[in-house]
Symmetry: C2
Subunit: 348 residues, 2 copies
């Protein structure tokens, strides 16, 4: 990370922008143009217009193209992926009581919990509607397959989310690294990495029996992404990251770094952390959050997280060769290769 | 309502119980038997086991049978309807901050908002999964049609919900009877009455072009149901109704009766109501709720609501003849006919 903005990263961001244009348009086109605007479609469209990284649709379209598929056939499913991702974000922000998203107030901070729960439900409904619209282009069989991919993705993500939320609610201090990895596979890896690749490949004509090659790749890549995301939440630059820094600590989120700290703190310091976690969120103070961050630094927790993220990115690089063995060299394959490096160098 | 428990109503409740057995089993069978149980599937199954009226699946199966269809072919879609209804209930209770549902604490009162939002999302996902499972029995074409019915149902319901929630959030006092009827059509009638009939008929082999006959019937029946539901919320018996009495007033819900009161109160009394509605919910007191109820009684608002509910039930009785003109006499047709009367006599 000596060069803050190397050429490969500039090119990657440019490619991401191009993919994003497709998926943002696809999402906005799917929003009905009718009433009720003020209480539903206007806040929803505003949220969808906020610029995210759009890694999921990009990965889907790039995987399709890398396998010789027509990107035009993948755009609708890629946009549905991003629509579903937005539905998750709106509900996640309510569940975590987060204040900021993509640099602006979260949907429920702006419009209240009631309208935000409902708007998230609508994004969810629209993503299913978008998938139904695959039929004229992709035919009934492939469309049904993609619906099946979404089904698995949804169930896994909601199960992972339940684990994370339950650990916080019951203030579990017995969570191990392995539990975290299993939770992250469910919460993040399936819907963000594995299924976007699987769906892109399916649309390019790869046989359903040949899709497991993406599993380990997407698992490792997703872990690198999630751990880096958790690190940015601890010590990132809010203007770039777009969420409140330290928010995960205020929420009591069981990240790899918090699990490391729970394992390594002793005596009164450990008790102090336990007391912090036992308090309801409004009783957790900013000063305590800074102390926890200091302890993570002092006991090597941040370094542990960084090493883990790098380790999983390297594993993803290795698996990349297997996963994309049948894709010839192309700018799309290069793009996916760059995504792996970006997972651990990104600052937003 | 001189006879509190007439023979036709006893028979109807018995028939409802029989239909409910199918749909409850269908829903519970659709819940994955795996982890995470404690934070997801256990609370979800507990909620699904609570005994509701199950009018939606009953209407779907009965309409199928009334048109000569095989009920076994309708059970899965009927169960998916009830699963979706439960997803709505869990999220509605969060949106309205309701305390009781079917006589027990609401999901978020019991498990917190975070896990409840997530469990509602899972019920939603499971309802889509159930619809996918229609394919082996009903074939791809009819299954896709039913998915389309669900799509329209979801979008309409979420739009109606947005209207109602937005009116409360912005403390709108300019809502007219017509606005209420339009909102109720969207929020309640499509998913509770029109689509259950349409889907049942589709499965029995009624041509898609012949489904509009259920629209006016379901609209009037849904209005009779919703207004009666709002009346029970004002003055029902909590042990039967299963929700907190007067909860809608604490929420500021724009019912036909509240709209009537806003239209008929004058001077200081009107100001007192406006002040009540302008306060955030925790500032609204039980004494004020009782005063509002007294005013509704005194100015004829409750009678206005009762007359409207009866009027729409009569309109539904009239439309019933058109809607079910192609269904010969059968116990299933009789059941649906009884449902109409039940809409205005029910006390739960």
């Amino acid at each position: 990370m000596t060069d803050p903005d190397p050429a490969w990263e500039r090119e990657l961001l440019l490619q991401l922008t191009q993919y994003r244009e497709y998926s943002t348009r696809g999402m906005l086109d799917a929003v009905p143009r009718r009433e009720p605007r003020r209480y539903l479609y206007d806040p929803l469209s505003e949220h969808l217009s906020r610029i995210g990284k759009s890694i999921r649709p990009a990965l889907c379209i790039a995987t399709c193209q890398a396998h010789g598929g027509d990107p035009a056939r993948a755009v609708n499913s890629a946009s549905a992926l991003e629509m579903l991702h937005n539905a998750f974000l709106v509900h996640d922000d309510i569940e975590d009581d987060s204040e900021y998203r993509r640099g602006l107030p979260t949907m429920h901070a702006q419009h209240g919990i009631a309208l935000a729960v409902n708007a998230g439900d609508m994004m969810n409904a629209l993503s299913v509607r978008m998938l139904r619209q695959n039929v004229p282009t992709l035919g009934p069989e492939l469309s049904a397959r993609i619906l099946e991919e979404f089904d698995h993705m949804l169930i896994e993500s909601l199960e992972g989310q339940a684990m994370e939320l339950g650990w916080i609610r019951d203030n579990r201090v017995d969570i191990l690294d392995d539990d975290y990895l299993r939770m992250a596979l469910k919460k993040t890896c399936w819907y963000s990495f594995i299924h976007p690749c699987r769906i892109g490949a399916l649309i390019a004509g790869v046989a359903p029996g040949n899709l497991e090659r993406f599993h380990r790749f997407g698992f490792y890549l997703g872990l690198a992404f999630q751990i880096q995301d958790d690190l940015l939440n601890l010590s990132g630059d809010r203007s770039k990251y777009g969420k409140e820094i330290g928010g995960d600590l205020l929420e009591g989120k069981r990240t790899l770094m918090l699990i490391h700290l729970l394992r390594n703190l002793r005596g009164g310091d450990r008790q102090r952390l336990m007391d912090f976690l036992a308090r309801p969120r409004p009783g957790r103070e900013q000063g305590e959050v800074e102390w926890i961050l200091e302890m993570m630094k002092a006991l090597g927790g941040l370094d542990y997280g960084r090493a883990a993220s790098r380790h999983f990115a390297e594993a993803a690089l290795f698996e990349f060769e297997q996963a994309f063995a049948y894709a010839g060299d192309s700018e799309h394959k290069t793009f996916i290769h760059r995504i792996i490096r970006y997972m651990i160098t990104r600052d937003q």
